[in-house]
């Protein structure tokens, strides 16, 4: 276990270093004047760009600027976000819970649905259920998230007036603002805070705003998991140990669930990283369309307003998520597959 953790830690540092160099390299393709624009806060400053360039050392060699930047980041200064009108680090903690909440609801549904659909379609291969779920998967795969979200919004908000966009209704927002003493924001997640404060009205309102975003996220992401589960299951069902189990007198349930499914989960763990990446990308589109001020929304907004510190911080954050995901995958592997040991 010890060397394993050490190796992972090294990997974490390596990936974060690599990502930061990469992003910094991209940023350096700006002219110093353009990068200086990021530091403008008053109109007078705009007139004297060269001075800004000099003050901030924007025409220094790459490594000096990079070193300076790393020093700042290490000190907890990720820069200033134009979009949020706050330091990136502070803004991050404002946006992060919103995205986390969305994925906290979506992820269990994705995992449960994906495994269930994949298993069922592999067992009943080529029957109506299999065909239906494959059609569903390929359509889910072909649907652009933002488009699907727009159509859902059009039908369920526009036509049925059921599920509005946003994070929270105006009335509820007002209520929270006016009752800071009885409603404390423990986590920043509306539904969770609602439950923690014992305020069901807030929780339900948050949930109502989550229905469409979570539906979108689940339908778009579940296709990948389902497909991997299905093909893994089909492969396992054709293996010899399945015949051995049948020859022992096992019934279908035992063969499918006890023998084949557990083995088929091993390749599924492999795509967990991809699932996380998909969920990240999905969150961007979902938050943009449903107007939820989370990290995805922040990122898209920053991209259109050339808010480079945010983009860089976000890439670093993604690198962190990537490494943690990989760590979890390794541990999961070892938990499922006795042939693998963490050394």
């Amino acid at each position: 276990m010890g060397p394993f953790i050490l190796r992972r830690l090294f990997f974490l540092i390596f990936v974060l270093f690599g990502v930061s160099v990469l992003i910094f390299g991209i940023l350096m393709s700006f002219s110093p004047e353009r990068r200086a624009a990021a530091y403008i806060t008053t109109p007078q400053q705009a007139k004297d760009l060269p001075r800004l360039v000099r003050t901030y050392g924007l025409d220094d060699p790459f490594y000096i600027q990079y070193g300076r930047w790393v020093g700042e980041v290490a000190a907890g200064n990720l820069g200033w976000s134009l979009v949020a009108a706050q330091p990136v680090w502070t803004a991050f903690w404002m946006y992060f819970p919103v995205t986390l909440e969305l994925n906290l609801y979506a992820a269990p549904l994705i995992i449960w649905f994906g495994i269930w659909l994949g298993t069922r379609s592999a067992i009943h291969r080529d029957d109506w259920f299999d065909h239906l779920s494959r059609v569903f998967a390929i359509i889910g795969w072909s649907l652009p998230t933002f488009l699907f979200a727009l159509v859902l919004l059009m039908v369920f908000y526009g036509y049925f007036r059921m599920f509005p966009p946003g994070i929270i209704g105006d009335e509820t927002a007002l209520y929270i603002m006016n009752h800071p003493e009885s409603f404390s924001r423990y986590t920043g997640m509306v539904t969770v805070d609602g439950i923690l404060n014992g305020n069901w009205r807030v929780a339900l309102d948050g949930l109502r705003h989550l229905v469409l975003p979570v539906t979108t996220q689940v339908i778009v992401v579940v296709a990948l998991l389902m497909r991997v589960m299905r093909s893994g299951m089909i492969e396992e069902l054709s293996k010899d140990y399945v015949i051995t189990a049948r020859a022992k007198g096992a019934d279908d349930r035992t063969v499918h669930l006890r023998h084949a499914r557990k083995n088929a989960l091993i390749p599924v763990v492999t795509v967990a990283g991809q699932l996380v990446a998909f969920s990240m990308e999905g969150s961007i589109a979902v938050e943009v369309v449903f107007n939820r001020q989370g990290m995805g929304w922040w990122l898209a907004e920053s991209a259109t307003q050339l808010d480079m510190p945010v983009l860089m911080g976000m890439c670093l954050f993604m690198g962190l998520v990537f490494v943690i995901t990989n760590l979890v995958i390794d541990i999961l592997y070892a938990a499922i597959d006795p042939r693998i040991r963490l050394v």
């Binding site: 015949i243 051995t244 020859a247 022992k248 083995n263 499922i336 597959d337």
Partner: protein, 410 residues
């Protein structure tokens, strides 16, 4: 292990079984086809075979002749895209008692639930690749225990109930009473719906654990009997940290757990090195005396046949072409294919080059008409090309499917 050793009169304890013995299994005109993209592979072309009770029956033939398909259809385990398209498989599950007629069951006309009860209990099977045949992510003990959990729940529940009654174990009071009730239910009907529901309730699940513990201890005991030195420890291991020979014994243990009346060994020793092969064969031979009544041994190794079998069937391209007692077959092969097969085995006193069989195994999508061996047969004549030869009795218990058999030297 050379084939001609069987030519000597070695009747050491082996029963030469003729037509008079009780059958344990009768296959009649079994037809199995595989519906593939290239066409219909006619894997079994009306196979008829009788396996007498209490003997070791060998089934030999080149790879691809349908031996494995035959045994898989016995177990009801023919895989997609294969289908059993005709025939009968009469199985006599009970021990033949005295001279009364034994009740036979046609396995092909039984529901899947019946087959599940038979498999692993009355008929069981040893697979050729222990590596692939074991589930890589379950402990060896769990896998052997499954055999007990599928077929011996009733008996084990009775035992647990009796143990609880005798006052053994740490459990006391109401829990014990509940456990006893549960064991009582499962002793009466192991598949009761009540149990299935109760198995999901946290505290009551413990009943299941008792059962599992009992099954595991039975597995350990069985492994001990098969010559594994520290069974208590081995049952907790996973297949990947066992040696090849050990895995083989595990696979055998799974098959033997419920003392089947018919044990099928599908190429059980083919990929082993010679010493382990000898060990396993000895083990099987010993078990044959004590645990099981009949063995069906599938192999392409004539040496193994000569060593272990009482009666032999020879298969070629989806047909049985000759059946005889082992001594008779080696001494006096009547089918030209059998003779060619025997000639292709090196002898102790071999001087010249080995003979091989001319031509190649036919493609079973489009097999030759008539006798499937005729294109390669030295004796082939006019009728061979048109109609498949019926099995004929030539000598006591010696059946041959050939128009122009090799002449009798016995």
């Amino acid at each position: 292990m050379s084939a001609d050793m069987a030519g000597d009169d070695r009747r050491d304890g082996r029963r030469e079984t003729g037509a008079g013995a009780h059958p344990i299994l009768e296959a009649k005109d079994l037809v199995v086809n595989f519906y593939t993209y290239e066409g219909v592979v006619k894997a079994l072309n009306g196979v008829s075979l009788t396996i007498p009770h209490g003997i070791t029956f060998g089934l030999v033939g080149e790879s691809g002749c349908g031996k494995s398909v035959f045994v898989r259809s016995l177990m009801g385990l023919v895989q997609e895209p294969g289908r059993i398209d005709g025939g009968e498989l009469i199985f006599y599950p009970g021990p033949p008692s005295g001279d009364g007629p034994v009740q036979g069951v046609d396995l092909l006309r039984q529901p899947e639930s019946y087959l599940q009860r038979i498999r692993g209990d009355r008929i069981s099977m040893i697979f050729q690749e222990p590596n692939a045949a074991l589930n890589p992510i379950m402990t060896v003990g769990e896998q052997v225990a499954e055999s007990f959990l599928f077929h011996r729940v009733r008996e084990m529940s009775e035992k647990i109930a009796a143990d609880l009654g005798a006052g053994g174990g740490r459990t006391t009071g109401p829990v014990k009473a509940v456990l006893r009730v549960l064991c009582g239910i499962s002793a009466r009907n192991p598949h009761a719906r009540v149990l299935r529901v109760l198995n999901r309730v946290p505290v009551l699940k413990r009943w299941r654990r008792r059962l599992l513990r009992e099954a595991l201890s039975r597995s350990a005991e069985l492994l001990g009997r098969l010559g594994i030195s520290n069974p208590e420890e081995v049952i907790r291991r996973y297949p990947h940290n066992l040696s090849g020979g050990m895995k083989h014994r595990i696979v055998i243990a799974m098959a033997l757990a419920c003392k089947p009346v018919l044990l099928i060994a599908d190429e059980a020793t083919s990929n082993l090195d010679v010493t382990i092969q000898a060990q396993i064969l000895d083990l099987l031979k010993g078990l044959k005396e004590t645990e099981i009544s009949s063995v069906l041994l599938i192999t392409h190794d004539l040496g193994v046949v000569a060593e272990t079998c009482d009666r032999v069937g020879v298969m070629y391209a989806g047909n049985v072409c000759e059946i005889a007692n082992v001594g008779e077959l080696f001494r006096n092969p009547r089918h030209p294919y059998t003779q060619a097969l025997l000639n292709a085995v090196p002898k102790m006193a071999q001087t010249g080059p080995l003979e091989s069989i001319e031509g190649t195994v036919p493609n079973l999508v489009d097999p030759p008409p008539g006798c499937r061996f005729h294109p390669r047969c030295p004796n082939a004549g006019e009728p061979c090309r048109e109609v498949f030869p019926e099995m004929r009795e030539m000598g006591v218990g010696h059946r041959v499917a050939c128009y122009f058999p090799v002449e009798d030297i016995g």
